[in-house]
């Protein structure tokens, strides 16, 4: 039901580790390994020997307390079936009779073909390992270029703010303010610009989500409005109704503030 590799964490850290297939990627991989190890012809697999070793390996997995997954058992059953078929004397000689191993061999070869292709792929000059491209956050350009961004009108912005406020207001309903907050819009503007210098595009709601109090929320909103008015930030979205994005458009225009 599952496959795992020692590198599985790169992908899905939550996958239970059922089989330590840092040795084998699956039953076919194991079979290919056995064929290679025994130096036998893939077109003429000594089924009895291979089956025995295959089962031995499964037993070993059990001993090591590794759960043997279903796929390994399916192939084990298939091997046993082939083995018994090969032992059975044929009552009638049929010309077209295929070797009982044929289907398994076909699968093995096909699998091997892709396994080789995978090895070839990883042998290439990989971006991020062997070769590198320029590393910079182009998300703001990419979004502008590839997706038609529409400017957000003031009403959508206010509506989004209102919806957010309504959803969150209960959080602050019984909040007791111990001190007079002294965050000014100027402070907030500096904070917003600081964040945008680090990350070129930030969701509008992300700014709001970070607010600790109602007061903070209002100041943040006013700061964003002010920045938009001064054209220091762009307030855009991919389409009406999609998340509102804030991006940095230039240094603050000190003169007008």
């Amino acid at each position: 039901m599952n496959e795992n590799t020692h590198e599985a964490d790169a992908f899905s850290p939550h996958e239970p580790c059922l089989v330590k297939t840092h040795l084998f990627e699956g039953p076919l991989d194991l079979l290919l390994h056995l064929i290679k190890k025994n130096e036998v012809d893939i077109y003429d697999i000594p089924i009895a020997v291979i089956t025995e070793q295959y089962i031995e390996y499964l037993d070993l997995m059990k001993e090591l307390d590794l759960q043997v997954v279903g796929e390994y058992l399916v192939i084990a059953a298939e091997l046993s079936l082939i083995k018994s078929r090969m032992l059975l004397p044929k009552p009638v000689i049929e010309e077209d009779e295929l070797d009982p191993r044929a289907e398994l061999v076909r699968r093995l070869i096909e699998y091997q073909r892709y396994r080789d292709a995978a090895n070839e792929l990883i042998g290439r000059e990989i971006l991020g390992r062997d070769v590198f491209k320029r590393d910079f956050d182009m998300s703001v350009y990419v979004t502008e270029e590839e997706i038609e961004l529409v400017p957000v009108d003031l009403w959508s912005l206010i509506e989004t703010f209102r919806d957010f406020y309504r959803k969150r207001s209960h959080l602050w309903a019984d909040q007791i303010v111990f001190e007079v907050e002294s965050v000014t819009i100027e402070d907030k503007i500096a904070e917003v610009l600081g964040k945008l210098r680090v990350k070129a595009v930030i969701r509008f709601e992300e700014f709001l989500e970070e607010c600790a109090s109602k007061f903070d929320l209002v100041v943040t909103f006013l700061a964003l409005l002010e920045l938009a008015r001064m054209e220091n930030i762009l307030v855009v979205q991919e389409a009406h109704g999609s998340p509102i994005l804030i991006s940095y458009s230039g240094e603050p225009n000190i003169g007008t503030y």
């Binding site: 599985a8 992908f11 899905s12 077109y43 892709y114 491209k133 590393d135």
Partner: protein
Amino acid sequence: MEPTDIKKAIECIIFVSDQPVSVDKLQQVFTELEKGDMRKYLKELIQEWGALGRGIILEEVAGGYQFRTDPAYSEYITNFNKRVKKFRLSRAALEVLAIIAYKQPVTRVEVESIRGVDSSGVINALLERRILEIKGRKEVIGKPFLYGTTGEFLEVFGLKNLSDLPTLKEIDEISKNLDTGILSLPEELS
């Protein structure tokens, strides 16, 4: 505009792009240029950059052009920039990727029948990394998703396009061998 200026402008555009720049994209800027001329300039640019013998290489990749570093110096880059996204793919992921790259569009079941193991987790992870994408649905019972590779896949593996993939060992030969009886029953058994 002089050809030298055009070439300089082209390399500027490629330089500032984080994705391979296609001829089509370039044409949106140089509207007066024929595609053939554009390709010629790009070819010349690749040669000129190559002739410089510098650490930066201009390369044709994923249907476009991109500046990349010379693989000989990868170590220095990773040492210098710890932030660089390290490339990691498990063997399972590579197998799935190889099957899908060559057989696309292909369903999960088809991938699994070749590998002999469940591959859903790996496919999902590759989808998340945008190396794979859903290409559509197969018109069979259950309408399963058809998967294929993305431009990012080509970019990561430095491939110009899908036909740039190394050729697979011919399976026809194998099936032929099966048919011509190399695998027919041993004498003593038949």
